[in-house]
Amino acid sequence: MDFFHVLVVLLESTIRVSVPLVFAALAGLFTERAGVFDIGLEGKMLGAAFAAGAAAAVTQSVWIGLIAAILISVLLSLVHGYASITQRGNQIVSGVAINFIVAGSTVILGEAWFRQGGRTPALAEGARFQIVNFPGADAAREVPILGPIYADLLSGHFLLTYLAFAMVPISWWILYRMRFGLRLRAVGENPGAVDTAGISVIWLRYRAVICCGILCGFAGAYLSLAMTAGFVKGMTAGKGYIALAALIFAKWRPKNVMLACLLFGFLDALAIRLQGTPLPLVGQVPVQLMQALPYILTVILLAGFIGKAIPPKAGGVPYVKER
């Protein structure tokens, strides 16, 4: 295989692994821009993946699976919202709690319902997302350079993949061109300004948290209904945290979020690709090291390469009227 082909395959799998990251990081963008930190992206995604897998297995409908994913994820978001907005609790603690609850309960419920060691049953074709092929993709593959780009990079993904990348400009438009976005960004910087302008800080933050829930729902559904055929315990494998890192790396901006997710996705794809392949000069690299590579690079990138990432000023602080 020549270099060009290797590159196309690598980029194709970059896109595939980036999708949940893009959804989750955009989800985090909505809440964190509104001043609610959310370390529970991981848990919401996992809960959504389980709900999607379970509902699709029972009903044999991919759409009911997707709806179940979104419902569960929004529900978990509302729990986080209730703890951190209404009860003014610690947002990190609440997020961590959600991660733990979901990690445990998905396995228990999965075992109780399906008796497959915490998995959901493998989904038949109709119960999961199918690949969307662009017209003439197969024919175009023979055209040099442009052909494989069209056939393998642009065509041949799941509906949710296209939705994920469409969500990037849509999120930008909502945040920067809509009244809701202006208010949402304001409440993350100075909730007092929003309150004195006659807008409810609490309702605004709840809406941001619900947006986060919906997007995490998509991320989870993608994992169990598109990328694989069913739920496997712990299948998010830290993607929620990577998404959080990408969000910081992107300095809370939609376009940068996409680029950061693609970068992390690329590292992941590279790690998979290089497993068992001897590298020039170093020779055979242990699989574990390759698997750790994206995380090692995450630490390095976050530690040194982004300059100062200034989070929303009111982030993590519950709003209390001054007395």
Partner: protein
């Protein structure tokens, strides 16, 4: 009764055991500037927050334009034509002026149309009230005077007829404050009603038509400004006669006790906060540093006190050099006779959750007087604290009370007692009367002058120009990190004001 813009009848509000507003009655006439004056904690801000819908009164009536209304939230206040300029600006710092003005009044779901309309309306308001400001500037890049203007524009954009300003001049230079007063005069001429909350008597006399005085949650008097005096208002505020300006004899400066030479301080971002500052403070003199907040006074004070590392420069304490650029050791400085009353008593000067007696020895807790071997000698500490409480008239006189439960003035006295009673050679004091009521100010000023008369060298930093002028033997003015001039306390306010704004100083430095 047509000419009453707003009337409050029997407003009452409690927060738990604190009775913040007691049966308040107030009438504000249309098209006037009405001052509300009172000490910190008198209930002014609570009353205005009720008017703006931040809190609901437990009982009482609000009548706007002859109609009784309920103000359940700021929205209701806005639609009743009430606008508020808060003491701490309610602005989103990384938004533009335009975005801040339209926030909450955007008109439609999608911003584009609203932006065009807001831009037009802003231009009209700018012209009508002479309130120029670039609509596309980011708030964080504007000086505070302009930020405040944005707050006023926000209220006018929402068609406010009644404008409440809460302590508007605290962050302004004298020139900026004068400008604000001109703006307020203009607004009044256009028929707006203005309520001005302040604790500065001078402002009340300068600009209001009528003034109401609050004391301990009660509205104690309303006067026509032209028929009252500063002395009468001060007495009404405090409830007894007060000396507004303490008596002070000639100083007798002795040897140089504190010498600062070429001190430069950079902050963590590498921005120069204190720029090559040189001065001496002699025994038996008070050197005051005037300046608008944020011009390097805080950093200067902290560098001398050994809390902040200086970049270059030397400091001599009692003629011996202090390592200001290397290892910081405030405890060693204290042992060498330097006492420091920090600007921010809540974060630096006190631990609010400690009891009074613990704060009274904070920083001196290794003194053998307070120790029993490795243990604290609680009896000695309490006895010591009680002596200080008596001497400084700290109320309530309870050494075991949690410090957070003392009023601002009494907390400040706790810090002053701790630092002054050690008999230091050099005393450096930041903002001695910030958030302190008029009665306690008099006491604190007297103590500072006593320290001078005992032959101590006193370095005083304050953003209250009146305070600097009343206490200092020499005044240094800081602007943008530099000392831009030295004046005697007889210098006029206008002269000092120009220096503080950096206008005169540049010329002087150039010459």
């Amino acid at each position: 009764m047509d000419n009453i813009a707003i009337e409050l009848r029997g407003i009452d509000k409690s927060f738990g055991p604190v009775h913040a507003n007691k049966n308040i009655n107030l009438k504000v006439r249309k098209g006037t500037i009405h001052g509300i004056i009172g000490e910190n904690g008198a209930g002014k801000s609570t009353l205005m927050s009720i008017l703006y819908g931040f809190y609901q009164a437990d009982s009482g009536e609000i009548i706007v334009d002859g109609r009784p209304i309920t103000i359940r939230d700021p929205n209701a206040a806005i639609s009743a034509g009430i606008g508020m300029v808060h003491q701490h600006f309610m602005l989103v710092e990384n938004f533009t002026v335009l975005e801040n003005v339209m926030l909450g009044a955007e008109d439609s779901q999608i911003l584009n149309k609203g932006i065009a309309k807001a831009r037009q309306e802003l231009k009209r308001l700018e012209k009508e009230y002479a309130l120029e400001v670039n609509p596309d500037a980011l708030i964080e890049e504007l000086p505070v005077g302009l930020q405040q203007r944005v707050e006023i524009l926000k209220a006018l954009y929402r068609k406010a007829d009644i404008l409440i300003l809460d302590e508007p001049t605290g962050v302004l230079t004298p020139a900026e404050a004068d400008h604000l007063f001109r703006i307020l005069g203009q607004l009044k001429a256009q028929g707006k009603t203005i309520i001005l909350i302040t604790h500065k008597l001078r402002e009340i006399m300068a600009i209001t038509d009528e003034v109401s005085v609050m004391r301990r949650g009660e509205m104690v008097a309303t006067r026509t400004t032209g028929e009252t005096s500063v002395e009468e208002l001060a007495e009404l505020m405090v409830g007894r006669r007060v000396l507004l300006r303490v008596q002070k004899g000639e100083g007798t400066p002795g040897d140089v006790k504190l010498s600062v030479q070429g001190l430069t301080v950079k902050d963590s971002r590498g921005v120069t906060m204190v720029d090559d500052v040189t001065f001496d403070v002699r025994a038996g003199e008070i050197v005051g540093i005037a300046g608008v907040a944020g011009n390097g006074q805080s950093e200067l004070l902290e560098a001398i006190a050994g809390i902040r590392k200086a970049t270059t420069g030397t400091v001599l304490l009692n003629g011996e050099s202090v390592d200001v650029t290397g290892h910081r050791d405030p405890a060693a400085l204290r042992a060498r006779g330097l006492a420091h009353v920090p600007e921010d008593r809540h974060h630096v000067g006190l631990v609010l959750k400690f009891e009074e007696s613990e704060n009274a020895i904070l920083g001196y807790h290794n003194d053998p007087r307070y120790l029993n071997g490795v243990f604290l000698n609680i009896d000695a500490i309490r006895k010591d604290a009680e002596e200080k409480i008596a001497k400084y008239d700290i109320r309530p006189p309870n050494a075991r009370l949690k410090t957070a439960n003392f009023s601002g003035g009494n907390q400040q006295k706790i810090v002053l007692a701790r630092e002054m009673e050690r008999g230091p050679d050099v005393l450096i004091i930041g903002q001695p009367t910030r958030g302190v009521d008029v009665g306690a100010i008099e006491f604190i000023h007297k103590r500072i002058i006593e320290m001078r008369d005992q032959g101590k060298a006193v370095l005083l930093v304050s953003v209250e120009l009146d305070e600097i002028r009343a206490l200092s033997d020499r005044i240094l003015v800081m602007f943008a990190g530099r000392v831009v001039g030295e004046r005697s306390p007889d210098a006029t306010e206008g002269e000092l004001g120009l220096l503080m704004a950096g206008v005169e100083g540049r010329k002087e430095a150039a010459e």
